[in-house]
Amino acid sequence: MGRTLASTTQVLLHEEGALSRFRRALRKSDQQALDDLFNAAQQHLAASAYAAHTLPFETFLLSMLLEEHKEVMRLRQAVKELQEMHA
C-alpha cells in the first residue's frame, strides 16, 4: 500500500515548474538569484514535510526568508567584526 500523496521534494519541483515562465523572462543574473531562493527552500524540506500543510508553498517561502535572514545575521556579524578591527 504505497504512499498516495506526492513527496515534499516532488511538490517543490512542481512549484519550481509552475514558476518556469516567470524564471524564463528574468535576466540571467536574476535567474541565479531565484535559483538560490529555491535551493534555500530545498534545505528545509524535512520541516515542510513535517508541517504537513495542504499548501506547502507557504513553508517554502518561509524557508527562503529564513535563509535570507540567516545571511543577514551573518553579514551583520561580519560588519561588526570589520568595524571593530578598524576601530
Binding site: 500500500m1 504505497g2 498516495t4 500523496l5 506526492a6 511538490v11 512542481h14 495542504t54 499548501l55 506547502p56
Partner: protein, 183 residues
C-alpha cells in the same frame, strides 16, 4: 491548461469516463466542484488521488480550504476483493461517488480471471444500485499499451453506462459524449 470539458455526474445514472491519465485535471475539477457544492466520496482504486493538486485547485476557488477538503471523503482500495467488499457495504446515498481508476485492481494476474470476473460483476451490480440514489462517476484509465484482460471489464461498463465520455486529452474528445439509452 486548456479545460474546455466539464465532467459532471448526474443523479440516477452511472457516468463513465474512459480516458488516459493525462485527463486527470478534468477529474480534479469535477471533484473540486462537488466539494464546494456539498461533499463527495472518492474510492481510489489505483493510488491516483492527487491531494496537493486538489488543494491548489480548491484554493483558487475558495478561502476556506480546510472546509472544502473536509468535504472530500477518501478511501484507497488496493485489491479487487477490497473493491467488492467496499461497494457491497456502501450505503451512503447522501453524496456523489467517484471511483478512480476502477479497473486497476482487476488487472492483478495473481487472482484467477474467473474470480476477477465474478468480483467485478458484484461491483458492477452495486454501482448500479448506488447510482439509482446518488450520482456515480467511474473513471477507467485508458492505457497506452492495454493489457489483455482490460477490454473484458471496460466493455461491460460501457454497455451499462448511461453517460459516457471517451477522451484522448483534456480538451479534445475522441468521441462526442453520448447519452446511452436515449430515446
Amino acid at each position: 491548461m486548456i479545460n474546455s470539458y466539464q465532467i459532471v455526474p448526474e443523479a440516477g445514472k452511472i457516468s463513465l469516463l474512459v480516458a488516459p491519465s493525462i485527463t486527470r485535471p478534468l477529474l480534479l475539477e469535477a471533484t473540486a466542484q462537488l466539494a464546494l457544492k456539498d461533499s463527495v466520496t472518492i474510492l481510489d482504486g489505483g493510488n491516483s488521488f492527487d491531494g496537493y493538486g486538489l488543494a491548489r485547485l480548491l484554493r483558487s476557488k475558495t478561502t476556506d480550504l480546510q472546509a472544502a477538503l473536509h468535504n472530500v471523503l477518501l478511501s484507497r482500495i488496493f485489491s479487487c476483493y477490497q473493491m467488492k467488499t467496499m461497494l457491497e457495504a456502501y450505503d451512503d446515498t447522501s453524496r456523489p461517488l467517484i471511483v478512480l481508476d476502477m479497473l486497476s485492481t482487476f488487472l492483478d494476474e495473481n487472482v484467477r480471471l474467473e474470480t476477477r470476473k465474478y468480483l467485478f460483476s458484484v461491483c458492477h451490480t452495486h454501482l448500479q444500485r448506488i447510482s439509482r440514489a446518488a450520482p456515480v462517476l467511474v473513471w477507467v484509465r485508458k492505457r497506452s499499451s492495454p493489457l489483455a484482460d482490460d477490454s473484458i471489464f471496460v466493455e461491460k461498463l460501457m454497455q451499462d453506462a448511461e453517460k459516457l465520455w471517451q477522451l484522448e486529452s483534456p480538451s479534445s474528445p475522441a468521441v462526442q459524449p453520448a447519452l446511452f439509452g436515449d430515446a
